[in-house]
């Protein structure tokens, strides 16, 4: 019986390994290409290994587009959006999940409606609002609409509803007001949900293309994805530099994922959302 189990697992391992290799092969190819010369990258038939690694492709990426400021923009937008989203979403979720007030139903419906509508329906007027405020080509332009997304409210609302109502009642007996209950009791209990939301929002923010492409059009105000897209437009055929640049931009999120794998996976499972 043991022997049979093991041999059955052998077939499973072969299948899973073959699949896994298919999954990661584009990244392997990306890395190998990033070390080739331009000539090697367009050779027919392709060479697998670079004759001598061209690390210069990585620095070339920095010479073509203002990568430094783009990276700073990406990071600042991410931090601002995540911080704003956590604050805004946890406040709204707390009010809807724990307080009793007039118009709770219609107000909550306002958030849920937004959740069901595809993002393009908001984009044109959002752009007009940002432009009217004179904030085109700024960090706040990148972060603002996403901070108020209904998605975060929904995730935290679902979580807060599962906390026992006795928590609030006991605190009220002791004379705490709703703001104190939110800060001292509910928020600390929401740590797993807040962590999941942080991870998902970071991922959206770091990888997003459409919105940053529209609002920040000056090169040193762009985010990394937009910068990469521009780079491809400018030198669409310098594959080694493109591969080096694209590898550098995906590395931070992959590292964070490897370190926080459990939280990532719980976040995806919890929200059931496509990243």
């Amino acid at each position: 019986m043991r022997e049979r189990l093991r041999s059955r697992h052998l077939v499973t391992h072969v299948l899973l390994m073959a699949g896994a290799l298919l999954m990661v092969s584009p990244f392997v190819w990306q890395f190998l290409t990033s070390l080739k010369t331009l000539g090697e990258s367009t050779r027919i038939p392709p060479t697998v290994l670079p004759s001598s690694p061209e690390w210069g492709n990585y620095s070339a990426f920095f010479d073509v587009v203002p990568v430094g400021s783009m990276a700073v923009n990406s990071v600042l937008a991410l931090v601002l959006r995540v911080a704003g989203q956590l604050l805004v979403a946890s406040l709204a979720a707390y009010v809807f999940a724990r307080l009793r007030f007039r118009f709770r139903g219609p107000l909550l419906a306002g958030f849920l409606v937004v959740l069901m509508v595809p993002p393009q329906l908001f984009v044109i007027p959002q752009y007009e609002v940002i432009r009217a405020m004179g904030w085109l080509n700024s960090v706040q332009a990148l972060a603002l609409p996403g901070m108020f997304s209904a998605f975060g409210v929904f995730v935290l609302y679902q979580f807060m509803r599962t906390l026992p109502p006795e928590l609030d009642e006991a605190a009220r007996m002791d004379g705490a007001n709703p703001l104190q209950i939110y800060l001292r009791i509910i928020l600390p209990l929401c740590r797993p949900a807040l962590a999941a939301l942080t991870i998902l929002t970071s991922l959206f923010s770091w990888n997003d293309l459409l919105w940053p492409l529209i609002v920040n059009t000056v090169p040193d105000r762009m985010t990394l994805p937009v910068g990469l897209a521009t780079l491809q437009g400018a030198q669409g055929t310098d594959y080694p530099v493109l591969m080096a640049g694209s590898l550098l931009t995906i590395l931070p999120m992959v590292l964070v994922f490897v370190l926080l794998q459990k939280q990532f996976i719980r976040g995806i499972a919890m929200s059931g959302i496509k990243a």
Partner: protein, 295 residues
Amino acid sequence: MRPNRYPDNAWAAILLAVPFGGLVIFYLWPLLRTVLLSFSEGTAFTGYTITGFENWRQLFENGDDVWRALLNTLVYAAIVLLGVPIAMVIAALLHQRGLGGRSFYRTLYFVPVVTMPVAVAMVWRYIYNGDFGLLNEVLDAVGGPTRAWVADPDTALYAVAVVGIWMALGTNLIILAAGLESVPPSLEEAAMLDGAGPVRRFFSVTVPLLTPSIFLVSVLSVIGSLQMFDLLFIMLGRTNPALADSRTIVYLFYEEAFVRNDRPLGAVIALVTLVVTLAVTAVQFRLQRRWVTYA
């Protein structure tokens, strides 16, 4: 004295002020504004005036671009949906008792989910290249067909959809794996004692019990596919000969609203996506009764 039904009105108003204000400015007002724009004419410089149904009439009389993009998007969504059965097989393989290296595999399958679509699209564009792409080289070695996959209108959309499957596999896998966790192992064991082999057990025990998760994954997959933009934007550059035949609805939205700056037409396209998204999701929920079983 009767207890107050709404003891927290004041606090709710204070705490909701910022979140709800943001919702109104960045979501609710834009929603209304987009609807109004779709009935308007004008440009950013002249301002917009409401003129009635002209844009909508245009859509039905000569909106071939929009219908083509819509069809492309639905085809794309249908192909990416094929990733769900693939994810089911992998989830079932991973779920076997006593299997080692589970988290190792899970990590590898999940990596594409966390990588930037713009970046991986570049890699795939290079792999798909007709002259020196890796795919053609591999296919050539095994005697398969070779071509310029993303520059050929016959294959571009499908080539992008394959990447869509690849990117979504990890997400599908996580949700299905969570569903499998809740399937009681006693059922599998009972089937095993009755002499059912692994394939039989997969179709007769695992799949029926997993239908709620399969349904969730399918709905999310389609909603995500209807939003496809990044992959196409990068894999098919502006000068690509296949672009005109392969545009998705969000791509067309971007092009009309922000490249050609025809905001009213952009608003019409955005509303078309809303209608289609709601319709497709409603159809899925209706069909659900036929095949989803809740234990």
